[in-house]
């Protein structure tokens, strides 16, 4: 095998599938630039799936009252939208966020009905040739199963609900595939190391690296000569005689890892240290609640369903106008009252929560929460 082939094999084997932790705020940034739920992509999907024009007309009719008025008052945007399909997508997302700001709604039902409609209105009025073109050409490339059409024809709400369920299953699935970040590795120094005596040449010491915290997979690297023999004993009963074993723990917890190094003349050194094996924290937050006293979802406990969280740093809940509804550094429970002790009106509220997980890693999450009145 030549050198280049060797380099290719080596680097792609080790790096092509590598994963790195991604902070939550990146998604928040992306989300803020995407069209509203059920927005433009839905319109594109409708075209792609070859739904006939009347669906667009219907949607347009539904929202003329809301989105239509806004669009008419903003001629510049309307013109931008009627370019080619690709650039409209990005323009739409700008428009969607403008629309969002203008109406001051945070993915409320009103906003959901406005957005697809407004896209359709624009296409109908400004650039009908393009629209019909897209519909015609897409008829040919329909690869959709009937259920897809159903989902769309049945209206946005049913489609959203069914995907909602899927995504929860999905979340569990993906949970297992997320890997620990290198960054968190650096931020989480190893457990304190007791210095081994340095009087003898033979040394037994090692450092541990969490290869994949999510799957409890760890790697142990000795700081000693490799011509000695190594025996590793882990307090879950596992024994290894490799130089650098890789071990997957079956459960979270505190473990002891012992290394015994024996050189060729039979001198043995022993070293043991404790390591904390925990999955990274995970914030799971409900998306709706109904304050009151009927005993069902009366308060939101932002940490109730979360995993491996050591403590709260801060929690902030804002209403759609940006007014602070709740702010705390000690309690992650909001009873739905505003700072004046009144139950806040029904609607969508934004939260920003910061916590520290069991491994000492700081985590943040932002999202929306629907408040229903009993």
């Amino acid at each position: 095998m030549n050198t280049d082939q060797h380099i290719k094999n080596l680097f792609s084997a080790k790096l092509k599938e590598t994963e790195v932790g991604v902070p939550d705020h990146l998604w928040v940034g992306i989300e803020s630039r995407l069209p509203l739920v059920g927005g433009v992509p839905a319109a594109t999907a409708v075209a792609k799936l070859g739904i006939v024009k009347w669906v667009a007309v219907l949607l347009a009719a539904v929202s003329t009252i809301g989105g239509g008025i806004y669009l008419l008052s903003n001629k510049e945007n309307t013109v931008n939208i009627s370019q080619n399909a690709e650039s409209t997508a990005s323009k739409h997302s700008e428009k969607a966020s403008l629309l969002n700001q203008a109406t001051n709604t945070l993915s409320s039902p009103v906003a959901i009905t406005q957005s697809p409609g407004s896209a359709a209105v624009t296409n109908e009025t400004e650039n009908s040739p393009v629209v019909s073109n897209r519909f015609v050409s897409s008829e040919g490339e329909v690869q959709s199963a009937p259920e897809e059409n159903d989902a769309i024809q049945n209206g946005n709400s049913s489609a959203v609900i069914s995907y909602h369920e899927n995504s929860h299953e999905g979340e569990k699935e993906f949970e297992n595939t997320r890997e620990s970040s290198f960054k968190s590795e650096r931020n989480n120094p190893s457990a304190p190391v007791t210095e081994p005596p340095s009087t003898q040449a033979l040394t037994a010491s090692f450092k541990e690296i969490a290869v994949d915290r999510e799957n409890l997979c760890w790697f142990f690297i000795p700081a000693a000569d490799s011509d000695a023999s190594f025996e590793w004993t882990i307090s879950d009963g596992s024994v290894y005689s490799d130089l650098s074993p890789r071990h997957t723990f079956s459960a979270e917890g505190e473990y002891k890892v012992a290394l015994s190094v024996t050189d060729r003349v039979g001198n043995t050194k022993f070293y043991e240290k404790s390591i904390s094996v925990y999955r990274p924290g995970k914030l799971v937050i409900v998306n709706s609640f109904s304050p009151g006293s009927n005993g069902k979802n009366d308060v939101v406990d932002f940490l109730a369903q979360s995993r491996n969280i050591k403590g709260l740093n801060s929690l902030l809940v804002l209403d759609s106008q940006g007014n602070t509804m709740y702010k705390s550094e000690t309690s992650a429970v909001w009873n739905g009252e505003n700072p004046f002790g009144e139950i806040a009106p029904a609607g969508s509220y934004r939260y920003l929560i910061s916590v520290t997980d069991i491994n000492g890693q700081k985590m943040e999450k932002a999202g929306a929460l629907q408040l229903f009145r009993e």
């Binding site: 680097f11 992306i30 992509p41 899927n166 979340e171």
Partner: protein, 185 residues
């Protein structure tokens, strides 16, 4: 969720599915972005740009190839566009020698963990980092790389040779570091 389900949900503009797709691929794509850019901030910018393109263009996905591969291509192109737009002016140190790596050095590379290799690439000068990434990790040929980056094929080959020269040098330093690390015990 399967790729098809993810794409269907994204086409309907479902936020939860978009998030699921992001969660599924962001970790791997972040690793890709980190390899092309110079620091974490740049990588995060490229990642965000790239995912926005993914959501905008998801209807273009053919359904024949893997979704991950398609997203990766978008991510790489976004990174290359970003690097071109940045027009890095601080000249990288040009290496005179472009020696081939010897067997000992290859096996030294082999002993490095994924994390260590990642850090190594992180430190590689921007001049040859992209070419090295595209050639050694993504598996593109010099002709394809030349097209993607808007450079000539011979430039791509030269940059790759320089990258190898740089690796050789870096490996010497690593051996020294490891020696020091071990001697501290």
């Amino acid at each position: 969720m399967t790729d098809i389900e993810l794409v269907k949900g994204c086409l309907s503009g479902n936020r939860e599915v978009q998030k699921a797709l992001f969660d599924c691929y962001a970790g791997k794509m972040m690793a890709v972005c980190l390899r092309y850019t110079e620091n974490r901030e740049e990588a995060e910018d490229v990642l965000q740009e790239g995912f926005i393109k993914v959501f905008e263009k998801i209807y273009q996905w053919e359904g024949s190839g893997s979704l991950g591969g398609w997203i990766r291509t978008i991510m790489i192109n976004t990174a290359l566009t970003f690097l071109r737009s940045r027009k890095k002016t601080n000249g990288h140190t040009d290496l005179d020698y472009a020696e081939e790596l010897n067997a000992g050095e290859i096996s030294a590379l082999d002993r490095l963990s994924a994390e260590e290799l990642m850090e190594l690439i992180d430190r590689m000068p921007p001049g040859y980092k992209s070419v090295f990434n595209l050639f050694a990790i993504e598996g593109y040929g010099h002709k394809e790389i030349a097209e993607m980056m808007g450079i000539s094929e011979s430039t791509s080959k030269t940059q790759y040779l320089k990258a190898k020269g740089w690796l050789k040098k870096a490996l010497e330093n690593i051996e020294k570091d490891v020696g020091e690390y071990r001697s501290t015990y």
